[in-house]
Symmetry: C2
Subunit: 916 residues, 2 copies
């Protein structure tokens, strides 16, 4: 028996049995097909139909364009069943069945693939439609739409070939809108469209309905591999081997008169997340009229008055769908002569803000658990929410030049680009910030939209193509800005008051739907006002802290909770922000940043150039009070949480003038024959800097190596840390300083310097007459340190993975050199799946991290282990840190909320897994 | 019952039972004590005595200077036994027993620790000795020796205090030699020595023999921790916790008249290894007279005439000892009034040449096995043998200014330094080559001797301190050069014909015993003439190849033989030398070296600066014939062995002028206002070089990264390799080229470039109409490559560990920067046990090597794995490579013999161990 390639919507139970799970059904039937089948099972009004599976699509594409054995027969059989259900017959000149042929993949790709409506109409059946509906105009309009869609989608005739003919006819007839055309006009239009069809294809429009159906199905299959679909999947991260299903659905008509309509809606507001019915509809229209943004539709609320009965039905459907799917739904419907038909339901795309609000609300409503809520929001959405917004004061002082629909929130500043190619080129090749402006957008424009910082259109509504794409990818957008008139030819846009040329800078506020001329300054949003986010992240923290994972039985280590989130902060103000964002410690304070401050740098330079130890000590004692004050503030802000302070790390020549500049100055003096003290000073500075030059400074004289050769600096730093800690403790703050020694490669380095420094710490505490709780530990940032972690943990009380340097040395990539010279090419060519400086490389660097964490705990079961590289704020890397059993990730303060969510999600995903 | 701290020589069976093994006995009794006990057991004439154990020494030192419980009583008991054996009594005024108190550690430390002779003499017993021996002069001489030794060694009185007094007396009496002093003179000398003793210590010389014994034992114990002993152990690699034993031995006297003598001998010639009795003796002398080099002794052969009976006895002892110990022995003996007494036997130190000859001869004699022979020679000895020698032609044309004893072979050129401190300072701080010149050397001089390239003395023989130390450490030495008169005050040396000042350059030939003025050129010795070495290395190869090690049962990998030795060679002449030295393949050919040749560099530079791909191809096609010829020679010389050719590795800017020089030139032109084409050219070259500059070139755009971005160069190289291989194969040579891709960190890099290059290889073979056997593989020199070896072995057919770069990146040490700035300090402070660029770091780098070797073979069981870093020629690293299951080590041609020996030794040491 042949494989089953075709499932009727009503066969949903059988489908689910075959597919094994609902996710399997979605994979097999696509999201749309699965939704239609599921709604059918739930007794909702769905037009009869069937789905040809994604497996059939893949078989078709693999065979080079042949339907797999049995598929067509099964489709005909299903069609017969639909005929029985509807009482109509496909191609019947008396009572013809018309169908739509719609694509539908597992993951929604809005507008990317093809749909053909009204399949089954021909010169005969159109007449039957006239007599059945008594609406000649409607029937001919449907026919002309079929020819147009079939021609362009199935046969590849340029859409303009049809629209030009239509515009000509409208001019001839003095018609302004499509609806001004009469039945006879449309009959004429059909004739003219048939000519266009013949001109481009060399043959007549196919009168055989079965032929129409077959070609339409093939067109949908082929559209899976269209360039624009492939490009979309690349960006959205959708695998290329899923294939699309084809849904053959009995046609229902929203354009049968004023008792008919078509619309799309969301069960909650996809922009704010508010629990209110939200959508748009168009009376006497077909579905694509809403999505295409050609006619501006009405808000769904108006339907309450205009079609109260249908509105009530829709409300009931809305509630049933949310209960059923336990998530916000995006639905399409058609009303045919007062009867509601559901054409689609799927999980609705939403803004970051809406995602968070809906997740939190649904927990409160008892619809979903806290874990589900945490999984419903992506770290990227949290990031989007915390993106900069326009400074309210600047907005007050600027003039809004146009307003439109606030289709996708956020602030964007950029130069106007009038088409997608220009937008992409400017953004990618010239690194310019771009706002793409178009009357409306189409699937072909997506590459430009993705490259742009913001999107601006003069037509379309909140469910238009531009709006949907912008929301999905978190690009700020203002759409349907009708005040703006766009002249694509002259590449200009104008309102009553201003004129804008291509390249002019505008600012668009996607949250407010406002457009400004020039660049407005941005500010960070006020995190404390994001109550829903705070609630959600609180749950994430709770989940991570409650997750207690054990080691396998053959290994004796302490169990480990889920990850805490700490922050990297050098100054008290950063630490305060981190704490506000929910950080529970400071994982990295870079002490050398403080050395660069204006009043300190000259002292630092004199200290470095000191010829004797005494001279060096003199300048260090001038630096001590500065450092002590730095540390006091940090420790106080973070009490009672720990603060890890890293001792000086960079090579000393970083604090001195650049060698090349000095060389140039000195050579100039030499050639000009300048003499005197200035020359002498430059010459001796040049000599000093030259003596410090290194072939590969990244792997040279820095970190613990410097401390061993020149211990005075770190001794001063440790004195400053402990003086600060003692002072704050006396003032009543429960401080926890942790001293971190960088760049250790051999345990003996740590032994030597840690012994010295602990002496200083103890001496200070004795002088001050108070003891503070402290730790000494090390960064694990050199492969050898990770490889010998067991020995190192015998000395260090904590490990902090410095994955920036660890990645450099594990890959042998100097980041400065690699990113500019070959790393981007590597990622583009797929040699590396990701830039390993952004996403932690699990196979290589991660292997070292895992080994070191495990070996370190062998020597010291209570070892505190974290990560302080940039990866600490990147969700996939955070998940890996959870898997590796780390105690915390430390990231920049602004990424703390993202990291908290990612840590919670990691705990949920890996619940019950053992460590190691 | 108290622990047994004291063993009589004759209790040797009991000692062995306690110690568990003969090595244990040597540890417990020291080498000297064990030898005396063993000779006693064998029935050889050994004066009765006993040994206080090293355990007692350690207990004494740990307790801060107390004999452990029971030790002294046991010593007294043993002394009583010795009294019974000799029929004498310690301290008896009629028939006194005299003893020597001698140090003796497990490993010989010549001259480093202390000995006191004639213990038991006092004002009473000296009289008994006079009447017993009827030799007044002898008795008083013995007494003055005791006071002198006891005073200087036990009480720390400077030796000069005694020698000055003696010199004064000799002047008063008009005596030239010590032996010119009469009995009365010596009596007077004793009185004067007693005054010296009192002056320096504040008390009288102890008349109580038991007190003498106790203090002497303590002095020996303490000498273990003298500065010079510690320094010696540091250099010789002897652990500091072994302790020394103390041997208390009945005195026998070689200075009782002309029927008495004392001597040292080797059972074979320690310089050449020839099987002939070899030694020296002094009639009417005590032992230290021979060793100290004060009187020049007679060759042992003369004894045949002078004391034929004793000579026969000695010959018999010699044969018995060699049969017993199955190795060449170094013996000390004394003849007291015609009776032979054996005072020591130990394994004799020998030159490199002797070590090899003795090992090979003893196999032929059936005394030892081939495995034992291979273990008897150290890789350092092979190295010494292959050290450069003076060019014979240059020697013919130079005048020998002095000849002496050829005490330690080899050629040395250096500046004369007249004392040890100067020698050390010049060598270590100023990196000057030094020849240390002294009348004779003492243990205090060892630090200077070790720092020197050569040693020259005017006194002493082949067993003098200078000779023994020089031989042990492989430092060329000419001793007893009596023609040279040394003036230490004026720091000058002179012969009849020449005068030399400190700092003058001399050349010394330790093999011939000749001294030249100025620097003579050196040449490499002719390996083919070293038949014994060839035999020995042949056995080492045989052992390595015959050693087949298996993986543990839970792992399916191919069994691995012991290591082969390959060589790194860039040119056919190097490859030929490597083959002559026994290399069985080329493990690394660096192709970029060829780019630097005079006629090629301009083409290379134009190729690098090419603006278009076509232009680049043009210059590459000019380079192709050069490279092809390079490879033809290499492949032909090595056939049928494999030749691994590494594709271009360094960053391209290494082929261009240095940035700093260009900058200086351009700035000068700018300041001077130079215009014209020369300026333009420099400016544009500067711009090009600037664009290529990198922050850390070691980790930048080089190796496979360069090949991916700019594949033209490596395509040319692969074409050259395969054109060469095809040509040579057509000429009848069985060539095996292997193409090595450097600096891989991710398997995809290899996949991309290897695919490209294999296409070129196949195309060339098609063009040439012949197929050659080839492999493609990679260097494992980046930590990530080692960590992901399993994936990489899916593509690569061989691995070659580049442990130079792997060490750099695993430690995060840039070698150029680290060695100059902190690495030497690290090794000196003991932070790192060894310089990891010299000796492979087993804990860190080695861990990666082991993981990668094992994981690589998981993916490809037949994977060919070797090492081509400098470590490939270093014995400890070679042993590690054997443990890790590598197939070969590749080293510089000159180190091939050393590596062959080390590989054989590794196979013996780790026989039967499983892999992994």
């Amino acid at each position: 028996m042949a494989k089953k390639w075709v499932y009727l919507f009503k066969e949903v139970d059988e489908t689910e049995k075959y597919a094994g799970s609902w996710d399997g059904v979605r994979g097999l039937l696509g999201g749309k097909g699965a939704g239609l089948a599921d709604m059918t099972r739930a007794g909702l009004p769905v037009p009869p139909g069937f789905t040809i599976t994604t497996e059939a699509c893949n078989a078709y594409l693999e065979s080079g364009g042949k339907f797999p054995d049995g598929m067509w027969d099964q489709a005909l059989e299903a069609l017969e069943d639909v005929e029985k259900q509807t009482g109509k017959k496909f191609g019947d000149p008396q009572n013809p069945l018309l169908v739509s042929v719609r694509s539908g993949a597992k993951f929604s790709m809005p507008g990317m693939m093809d749909t053909v409506l009204n399949v089954g109409l021909n010169d005969e059946t159109v007449k039957a439609m006239v007599s059945l509906t008594g609406n000649e105009r409607f029937a001919w309009d449907a026919y002309r739409r079929l020819i147009q869609m079939f021609g362009s989608i199935v046969m590849g005739i340029p859409d303009e070939a049809f629209s030009e003919v239509m515009e000509d006819l409208k001019k001839e007839r003095g018609a302004r809108l499509d609806t001004d055309l009469t039945a006879d006009d449309l009959k004429e239009l059909v004739r003219r469209f048939e000519k266009v069809y013949k001109k481009h294809t060399g043959s007549d429009f196919p009168q055989d309905p079965m032929g129409q159906l077959q070609l339409a199905i093939e067109a949908v299959f082929k559209s899976w591999n269209s360039n624009r679909a492939i490009a979309y999947r690349n960006v959205a991260g959708i695998p290329h081997d899923l294939g699309t299903a084809v849904n053959v659905v009995t046609m229902v008509f929203g354009n049968m008169g004023n008792d008919s309509a078509t619309g799309v809606a969301f069960t909650r507001d996809p922009s704010t997340g508010e629990k209110k019915f939200w959508g748009e509809y168009l009376v006497n229209a077909q579905g694509e009229d809403v999505v295409a943004g050609i006619r501006t539709p009405k808000p769904i609320d108006e339907m309450k008055k205009e079609m109260p009965q249908v509105y009530r039905e829709l409300q009931e459907v809305r509630e049933r769908l949310e209960r059923h799917y336990r998530d916000m739904q995006d639905i399409e419907f058609t009303i045919e002569r007062g009867k509601l038909w559901m054409l689609q339901t799927r999980t609705g795309k939403r803004t970051a803000r809406a995602a968070i609000k809906i997740a939190v609300d649904m927990v409160k409503e008892g619809l979903i658990s806290k874990e589900e809520a945490v999984m419903r929001v992506t770290p990227e959405q949290v990031d989007t929410l915390l993106h900069p917004q326009f400074d309210p004061k600047a907005k007050e002082n600027s003039k809004v030049i146009a307003t439109g629909v606030n289709a996708s929130p956020g602030a964007a500043v950029g130069q106007l680009a009038f088409d997608a190619d220009t937008a992409e080129e400017w953004a990618k090749k010239e690194h310019r910030d771009v706002v793409m402006i178009r009357p409306e957008t189409k699937p072909d424009d997506v590459h430009g939209m993705l490259a742009a910082k913001g999107i601006l259109t003069s037509r379309g509504g909140a469910t238009s193509h531009a709006a949907v794409v912008a929301r999905q990818f978190g690009i700020p957008a203002v759409v349907g800005c009708e005040e703006i008139e766009i002249d694509l030819e002259r590449r200009e846009a104008r309102t009553d008051k201003v004129e804008m040329k291509e390249g002019d800078v505008v600012s668009i506020d996607g949250t407010a739907g406002e457009v400004f001329l020039g660049a407005l300054p941005t500010v960070h949003p006020d995190f404390t006002k994001e109550k829903d986010l705070a609630t959600l992240l609180g749950w994430a923290d709770e989940i991570a802290a409650g997750d207690m994972r054990k080691w396998p039985e053959d290994y004796e280590g302490f169990p480990t909770r889920g990850l805490m989130v700490w922050a990297n902060a050098d100054y008290p103000r950063d630490a305060q922000r981190a704490r506000d964002f929910g950080a529970m410690g400071i994982g990295l304070t870079r002490t050398e940043h403080m050395f660069f401050e204006e009043e300190r740098l000259p002292i630092v330079q004199r200290m470095i150039l000191a010829k004797t130890s005494e001279e060096r000590e003199k300048y260090l004692s001038q630096l001590l009070p500065f450092q002590r004050e730095d540390f006091r503030g940090l420790l106080r802000v973070m009490a009672p949480y720990p603060v890890i302070i890293r001792l000086i790390d960079p090579p000393l020549h970083e604090f001195l003038p650049r060698y090349e500049s000095l060389l140039a100055e000195v050579i100039e003096m030499r050639v000009k024959g300048v003499t005197g003290p200035e020359r002498d000073e430059k010459e001796s500075l040049l000599a000093a800097v030259e003596a410090m030059r290194e072939a590969n400074p990244m792997m040279g004289m820095r970190g613990v190596r410097l401390s061993i050769v020149m211990p005075e600096i770190v001794k001063m730093q440790v004195r400053a840390i402990f003086e600060a800690a003692c002072t704050e403790k006396k003032a009543g703050y429960d401080v926890h300083p942790e001293v971190m020694i960088p760049l250790v490669s051999h345990v003996n380095e740590l032994k030597v310097i840690q012994t010295e420094l602990e002496k200083v710490a103890k001496q200070v505490m004795e002088e001050q007459g108070i003891k503070v709780h402290y730790k000494f530990g090390t960064m694990i940032e050199i492969p050898r340190a990770a490889l010998t972690a067991e020995e190192i943990a015998g000395v260090a009380q904590f490990f902090s993975f410095g994955t920036n340097d660890l990645t450099q040395m594990t890959f042998g990539f100097s980041r400065d050199d690699a990113e500019a010279k070959f790393l981007i090419q590597y990622v583009e060519q797929g040699i590396l799946p990701k830039n390993p400086f952004q996403v932690l490389d699990r196979d290589g660097v991660g292997k070292l991290v895992k080994m070191a964490a495990r070996d370190g705990r062998k020597a010291r079961p209570e070892l505190e282990i974290g990560i302080c590289g940039e990866h600490g704020g990147e969700p996939s890397s955070i998940e890996f840190c959870h898997i590796a059993g780390l105690n915390y990730v430390s990231c920049s303060p602004f990424r703390v909320p993202i990291a908290r969510l990612a840590a919670g999600q990691a705990a949920i995903k890996h619940k019950g897994e053992t460590l190691g």
